[in-house]
Structures are given as structure tokens and as C-alpha cells.
């Protein structure tokens, strides 16, 4: 009897020692089936292409394939919403961007981007800029702003949509400089570029969809919104360099549902970080004039909170803040 009891305690101790190994083993086993990667924009766009290349590069380090799915809609919010509705086992992850935070402040989101998603990694950011037609009378952003100041509400600018980052950026510029522009929203970059080409609007604020036009000499890039100049258009100053103390970029991050376990997050993060450094990924980023931007899960979560404050300010001034 006594030996039995001793044996039981011993066995119990042994098992409890093995217990933490079990969690480790869980992560080591992960993944045991394919992972779904949700892209919140249609196929062929910059988010889609860069995201697919990233997870394709990550596949080599995982024993299971990562399958990309496009679930577009709601300006990039439908995808993350669908990811968050899945169980937090690490088998469903997706892309989230600054657009999600904007949508939240405008009251269009059914989750809280600060607390609900598990941020796995930040891998790049969209770059934005303002373009005008090549034959337009303004050669610099300062001339543009001066003209707009003298002619309030006469200058029209197009964006890919209301509440998108390029839209907010111009509105914030308006707050800083006191100019009043007339905003004409379109559905996506292609439409506003066509309208600018046809002479129906005066300027376009968008991410690099205008690239080919600038290269062909049909458009002029007046200013870049980010912290640094764009590698491809190194002669074009940033907003800060032009005297306007602001910068705008929208990060692309990979998220998972709330409550993912630490080992799984770490494994996904490590695999994706390695993928970020592969030549295929860097090549494809270059094609879109984007650069890799890396943040680990904690830093990413904090950055989202900080960016949320900036976004909230502009959305509030625009009068679009949710009640």
C-alpha cells in the first residue's frame, strides 16, 4: 500500500513535470492541417500580391500549406471581421491595415482593433502621395496649397473612397494649412486616375496606383506622405520636408482571432519574419514601391493604439466620429 501511494505520487510528479512540455509539444505540432490566410482585398491588388508572396515564402518553414483566400469588402474590414469570428487555434489568420482602425472610429466596425485581434507581425506599409496632371500649373505642393488657399473649394481632388487613408491625409493637411478643397470620392484607385487623366478633377490622393502615369509623364507627383522619400521618386519631397508637420502611412499586419496561445503566435511570427527577409518578398515589395516595416507582436499592438489616436483626431475633425 505504501509503495503504491509513493508510486502514485511519483507518477503524479512525473506527469506534472511533463505537463509544460505538453504546451511546447502543442506548438511543436502546430500546424497539423493547412492554415487559411484571409486577404481583405480583391485578387491582383497590392495587398493581395504582397500578402500571397509573403505566405508563399513562409510555407517552406511550415509542414503545412498556407492557403490564401480573398474576402474583400467594407474597405478592408470584412476580411478581419471574418478572421476574428474563427477559433483562436492559429489556423485562420489574415491581413489587417490602418483602414480597419479608421472604420472603427467611424463606427463601421463590429470589433475593437485595439483589443480584439491578436497581432502577430507587421510586415509593410502602403505609401501614399498626391499627384496632379503633368500640365497643371503647380510644380510643388507649396504652390498647390497657395492656390487652394486663394481659391477655397475650387480645387477638386479624388480618392479611392471616403474615410480611406489618402482621404484622411488630405483632410489633415487641410486642418494644418487651413485650405478648403472639394473632395470627390471614387470607388478605388483606377477610377480616380481615369478622372484625373480626363481632366474631370484637379488632383488625386492615393497609394502608388498612379505610378505608371507618373513614369509615363502624364502625372506629376507633388508630395509623398510618408516619413521618408520614396525610393523610386527620390526627387519628390515628403510632407514634413515641405513644411507640413505630418506623415501618413497605413501599416499592413497579420492578425489572428482573440486569445491565441503564445507559442502559436511565436511560431507564426518567427516563420513570417524569416519570410520577410526572402528575396522574393523584397522583390515584390519593390515593384509596389513599398519597403519592409517590421514590428513584433507587442510593438505592433502598441503602435496600433498610438496610430489610433492620430486617426481619431482627424476623423473627429471631419465630423465622422461615431457617436
Amino acid at each position: 500500500m505504501k509503495t503504491c501511494k509513493k508510486g502514485m505520487i511519483g507518477l503524479g510528479l512525473l506527469v506534472s513535470l511533463l505537463f509544460p512540455l505538453g504546451f511546447g509539444a502543442l506548438a511543436a505540432d502546430f500546424p497539423t492541417k493547412p492554415i487559411t490566410f484571409v486577404i481583405p482585398y480583391p485578387a491582383g491588388g497590392s495587398t493581395d500580391v504582397t500578402g500571397r508572396v509573403l505566405v508563399d515564402a513562409a510555407k517552406k518553414d511550415l509542414s503545412q500549406p498556407i492557403i490564401s483566400e480573398n474576402k474583400s469588402g467594407g474597405g478592408g474590414t470584412v476580411g478581419p471581421a471574418l478572421v476574428l469570428a474563427k477559433p483562436p487555434d492559429g489556423y485562420t489568420v489574415g491581413v489587417s491595415s490602418g483602414a480597419v482602425t479608421i472604420a472603427w472610429h467611424m463606427g463601421k466596425l463590429n470589433f475593437n482593433p485595439l483589443t480584439d485581434p491578436t497581432y502577430i507581425i507587421r510586415y509593410t506599409a502602403y505609401v501614399f502621395g498626391m499627384v496632379v496632371r503633368a500640365d497643371a500649373p503647380w510644380k510643388t505642393i507649396q504652390e498647390f496649397v497657395k492656390y487652394a488657399k486663394e481659391n477655397p473649394e475650387k480645387v477638386t481632388y479624388g480618392t479611392p473612397g471616403v474615410g480611406t487613408n489618402p482621404h484622411l491625409a488630405v483632410e489633415e493637411l487641410g486642418i494644418l494649412t487651413g485650405i478648403k478643397l472639394t473632395h470627390m470620392p471614387f470607388k478605388g484607385g483606377a477610377e480616380c486616375n481615369a478622372a484625373l487623366l480626363g481632366g474631370h478633377i484637379d488632383a488625386v490622393s492615393d497609394s502608388t496606383s498612379w505610378g505608371p502615369m507618373v513614369d509615363a509623364g502624364k502625372f506629376k507627383l507633388l508630395v509623398a506622405y510618408g516619413d521618408q522619400r520614396m525610393a523610386r521618386y527620390s526627387k519628390v519631397p515628403t510632407l514634413r520636408e515641405s513644411g507640413y508637420n505630418m506623415s501618413y502611412s497605413s501599416p499592413m499586419m497579420i492578425i489572428g482571432p482573440k486569445g491565441m496561445s503564445q507559442p502559436v503566435v511565436k511560431k507564426l511570427h518567427d516563420v513570417l519574419k524569416k519570410a520577410m527577409e526572402t528575396p522574393e518578398f523584397l522583390e515584390i515589395l519593390k515593384k509596389y514601391d513599398m519597403v519592409p516595416v517590421y514590428l513584433n507582436p507587442e510593438d505592433c499592438t502598441q503602435a496600433v493604439a498610438k496610430e489610433s489616436e492620430q486617426i481619431k483626431r482627424v476623423v473627429e475633425k471631419l465630423g465622422l466620429l461615431k457617436k
Binding site: P42, A43, G44, G45, D48, V49, R52, D56, E69, N70, K71, S72, G73, G74, G75, T77, V78, A81, L82, M106, K108, N110, E153, T156, G161, V162, G163, T182, H183, M184, P185, F186, K187, G188, A190, E191, N193, A194, A195, L197, G198, G199, H200, I201, G211, P212, M213, D215, A216, G217, K218, I284, K287, Y288, L320
Partner: protein, 504 residues
């Protein structure tokens, strides 16, 4: 611009063995995808996109383009055979094509659809080659006011779509307009009628709606009435269009090509609107408009020609300016970028072999499709002999799978089923679905264009009349609206009734 040399270059590129292979693969996949209801070229192209990473840019473009216009061919097959539009642009083909199938004339219907598409494709390519640059400049002059006026013109065209009461058509159009408001509004950024359902933020999908309204409702109707097998196994009167069919359709084909050519180049315009417009115009100029909707072969020839030629001119803004005019083109844009080419005004001068190679391969692809589809007609017609007890569940199965495959979403399946029931009820009440679909497609574009124009003009409506293109469209629309009211007109066109109630 040495045209013959460039064309020669294009054909040289297109006839390279590997490019011929890609073309063939593309059109086969496209046809299959078009035949399967729901799954459209976009889904197939995005699935195959990674596979194209390892082949040359020209080859990739040729294959993906082949999928696109192959799907146009395939979409007409299911429209004619089982009244399910495989593609949104095949909706109009359902109206007369299915009726022809029920009369045992599925063969001629399929044949004229294939031939019409081929002729349209050939003429379209010629036009593309000859007038692409001026055409593009013309298209660029279409700003929001011009779009609005064009949409108004499009909606008045629906007066010619209906075979019965105008009041009912307007009711359906209004229903379509309301449906079109569901989703995120472009101008204000607010969600309308979305009931907090994320999938509704992008609006109700067009493809599930038409699959339900036309396909599922037809199945429901047929299950209800005990149709004897005779209707479909009526002696198949020949597999190919007769001389009489040709005589009737040739004009329709040319008119359809012309309409599709110009509407296809407008961003946002495209194959769907072209097919509606050509059907309506065909009915308007016909000497026996009352036959439309009951199996008139022109009603198949015109929309098929239109949607094929629109599919070709849709490439022009992409290849000459780098501006995609619809979702498919946006995908091709992505494909070009992945291959290291930046589509834009420089593409034509830097990579002429790409532009001309794709153009030439479109001709080759059209020829391949004709050769593929004609022999298949016999097989398709045999398919109709399958007993209903097996055929209908199969149709429903394919529809369910197809609706899901559009966006990997079971929500679309639900939409399709709901509209299947609505379509069934509509048919019981003699309410036509065509005006609903047209208004559903045009409404959102019209509303956005209206508000963008008013933003530009600071609220003044005169902007629609001071710009020449816009003014012309509005005047033509007004004329079309007023014309049927004139007494001399009514006497000459007995088939178009204004307020005669439908006698079931």
C-alpha cells in the same frame, strides 16, 4: 505606327507553340468556368495567377485573357440550356435562348451564340487595332456627368425590354434600384441597408441574384408543374442555325458588336450593360418585336455579339493606359505587375510584343473557341434528354456550388436561394426580371455619378447640359421616352404596349 508590321509581330508572338498552348488552356478553362454557374472568370484567374509566375508575361496574359473571353462563350451555354446565366453578361441570352431550347431549337441557339461571338470578336479585334488610341481618348472624356447621362439613357432603354405592361416593368426597375442601394455608399462612406451584416457592405452580389432570379426560380417552377418530357425531347430540329436563322441574325450580330465595342471601353460599362442595350435595341428595330422573349433568334445573337466585343474592348484601357475597367482587368493589372511590367501609357511603346501578341492571340482564341464549341453543341443538346428527376437536382447542386465559389461565402448561397424564391413568385405574378437586373446594375453607378457631378458643379444641374456628350445622351433619352407616346409611332409598332395589362 506601322500597323501591318505590328500585327505581323503580334501573330508571330501568338503562334509560338507555347503561346498557342497557353491560349488553348486558357480558353478551355474559361469555357468550363463559364459553363459552371456562379464561378466566374475572376475566381479562375485568381486561382491560376500563382501558376503564371513561372511563365513569360506574354504567355500569362494570353492565358488569363483566354479565360476571360472563354467564359463569355461558356456562359451562354447554360443560359440557353437551363436558363441559368453562367455570367452576369449572359442574362439576356436566357430570355430567348432558353425559350428556343424549350422549342427544340437549342442547337441553333447555341450555334448562333458561338458564331455571333466569333464574328463579334473578329470585328472587335479589327476595331481595336485600328482605332484604339482615339477610342481611349474618347473614353477619357467620360467624366461623372457623362456617366450619369449615359446611365439615364440606359435606363430608358428598358422601356424596350419589356414585353408586357410598362407599369410592371417600372415596378421591377424600382425594386432593382432599391436593391442597388444596399451596401457602402461611395460618396458618404455610410453603410445603407446592411443591417450590420459584414457581407452586405459590398452590396448584394449580382451573380447570386441573377442565378436565383433566373435559374433557381425556373427549377422551382418546373418542379411545380408536371412537365412532360416532351418539351425538351421535342425532335431536335437540326443542330446548326438554318439559312433563315442566319438571315435574321446577321444584322443583330453587327449591331450588337457595334454597341458592345463602344460600351465595353468605358470603365464600369462593359459586357453586362452592352448585352442589355443590344437586346433592347434589337427588339426596337425588329419587324416583329412581339416574338422577343418567346424564342427570337436575334434575341440570342445580339447580346452574345455584344458581350464578346465588349470583353475585347475592355482590354483597351488596361493595355494603353494601365487603367482597369473592371475587376477582371484589375486582376490582369496585378498579373502584369508581378511579371515586372508596369501597365501604363509606356507599356505599348516599351513592350509592343505584349500588346500586339495579346491582340493577335484574342483572334486565335476566338477561332479556337468556335472550333471547340460547335462540336460540343451535339453533346449539350443530348444533356437535355436527361430526365428531370436527375437533371434538376444536378442543376441545383451546381448552382449551390457555383454561388459559394464566387467569394467562398455561404452568404451568397443564401442570397441566391432567397432570390430564387422571389423569382418564382415574380414569375407567378408575370413580373419580369430583366428590368430589375438592369436597374440593379445601373442604379448605383447612376447615383454615384449624379452626386459626383453635383459635387463638381456645386449643386448646379446645368452641368449635365453644358457638356456636349452628356447633353446628347440626355436628349436621346428624352426622345426615347417621348417617342412611344406619339400616336403615329404606336400604330407602327404593335408589339410594344404601354399600359395593356398582361393577360396570363
Amino acid at each position: 505606327m506601322d500597323l501591318p508590321n505590328y500585327l505581323l509581330l503580334g501573330f508571330q508572338v501568338a503562334f509560338q507553340p507555347q503561346n498557342l498552348f497557353y491560349c488553348f488552356t486558357g480558353v478551355i478553362i474559361g469555357t468550363l468556368v463559364g459553363v459552371l454557374p456562379g464561378m466566374g472568370p475572376v475566381a479562375a484567374m485568381s486561382l491560376l495567377l500563382p501558376a503564371t509566375f513561372h511563365i513569360s508575361p506574354v504567355g500569362a496574359m494570353i492565358m488569363l485573357a483566354g479565360i476571360y473571353y472563354g467564359a463569355q462563350y461558356g456562359g451562354s451555354t447554360t443560359s440557353i440550356l437551363v436558363n441559368i446565366p453562367g455570367e452576369a453578361s449572359s442574362v439576356m441570352t436566357c430570355l430567348d435562348g432558353y425559350q428556343m431550347a424549350r422549342q427544340g431549337r437549342a442547337g441553333p441557339a447555341l450555334g448562333i451564340a458561338a458564331f455571333g461571338s466569333f464574328i463579334a470578336g473578329t470585328i472587335g479585334i479589327l476595331g481595336l487595332v485600328l482605332i484604339a488610341p482615339p477610342l481611349v481618348n474618347f473614353a477619357l472624356r467620360f467624366g461623372p456627368p457623362e456617366y450619369f447621362s449615359l446611365m439615364v439613357l440606359g435606363l430608358t432603354v428598358l422601356t424596350f425590354l419589356t414585353s408586357a405592361s410598362m407599369v410592371r416593368a417600372l415596378m421591377m426597375a424600382t425594386f432593382g434600384l432599391i436593391l442597388g442601394t444596399i451596401g457602402l455608399d461611395t460618396i458618404s462612406g455610410l453603410a445603407r441597408f446592411s443591417f450590420n451584416i459584414p457581407e452586405l457592405l459590398d452590396g448584394v452580389g449580382l451573380v447570386p441574384v441573377v442565378m436565383g432570379l433566373f435559374g433557381i426560380s425556373e427549377v422551382l417552377l418546373n418542379i411545380e408543374t408536371k412537365i412532360k418530357r416532351e418539351i425538351f425531347t421535342t425532335k431536335v430540329k437540326g443542330l446548326l442555325p438554318s439559312k433563315k436563322d442566319w438571315a435574321q441574325s446577321i444584322g443583330a450580330i453587327f449591331r450588337g458588336t457595334f454597341i458592345g465595342f463602344f460600351l465595353g471601353i468605358l470603365p464600369g460599362g462593359g459586357a453586362v450593360i452592352s448585352s442589355f442595350a443590344s437586346y433592347a435595341i434589337e427588339k426596337r428595330v425588329s419587324k416583329h418585336p412581339e416574338e422577343f422573349g418567346k424564342g427570337a433568334i436575334e434575341g440570342v445573337a445580339a447580346p452574345e455579339a455584344a458581350n464578346n466585343s465588349a470583353a475585347q474592348t475592355a482590354f483597351i484601357p488596361l493595355l494603353t493606359l494601365g487603367i482597369p475597367s473592371n475587376v477582371v482587368m484589375a486582376l490582369l493589372l496585378g498579373a502584369l505587375i508581378i511579371h515586372g511590367l508596369t501597365p501604363g501609357p509606356l507599356l505599348l511603346s516599351q513592350h509592343p510584343e505584349l500588346f500586339w501578341g495579346v491582340v493577335a492571340s484574342m483572334y486565335v482564341g476566338n477561332a479556337m473557341l468556335l472550333a471547340l464549341n460547335l462540336p460540343l453543341i451535339g453533346i449539350w443538346v443530348q444533356l437535355l434528354r436527361v430526365p428531370y428527376t436527375i437533371l434538376f437536382p444536378l442543376i441545383v447542386l451546381f448552382c449551390l456550388i457555383g454561388a459559394y465559389s464566387i467569394n467562398n461565402s455561404s452568404f451568397d448561397v443564401a442570397i441566391m436561394l432567397i432570390f430564387g424564391i422571389i423569382g418564382y413568385l415574380m414569375k407567378k405574378l408575370s413580373l419580369e426580371a430583366a428590368p430589375l437586373v438592369l436597374a440593379f446594375v445601373l442604379g448605383p453607378m447612376m447615383e454615384t455619378a449624379l452626386r459626383q457631378s453635383l459635387i463638381k458643379s456645386k449643386g448646379s444641374f446645368s452641368i449635365f447640359f453644358t457638356r456636349p456628350i452628356s447633353a446628347i445622351c440626355i436628349l436621346v433619352a428624352l426622345a426615347l421616352m417621348v417617342l412611344p407616346l406619339l400616336p403615329w409611332f404606336r400604330r407602327r409598332r404593335p408589339g410594344i404596349s404601354l399600359d395593356q395589362e398582361d393577360v396570363t
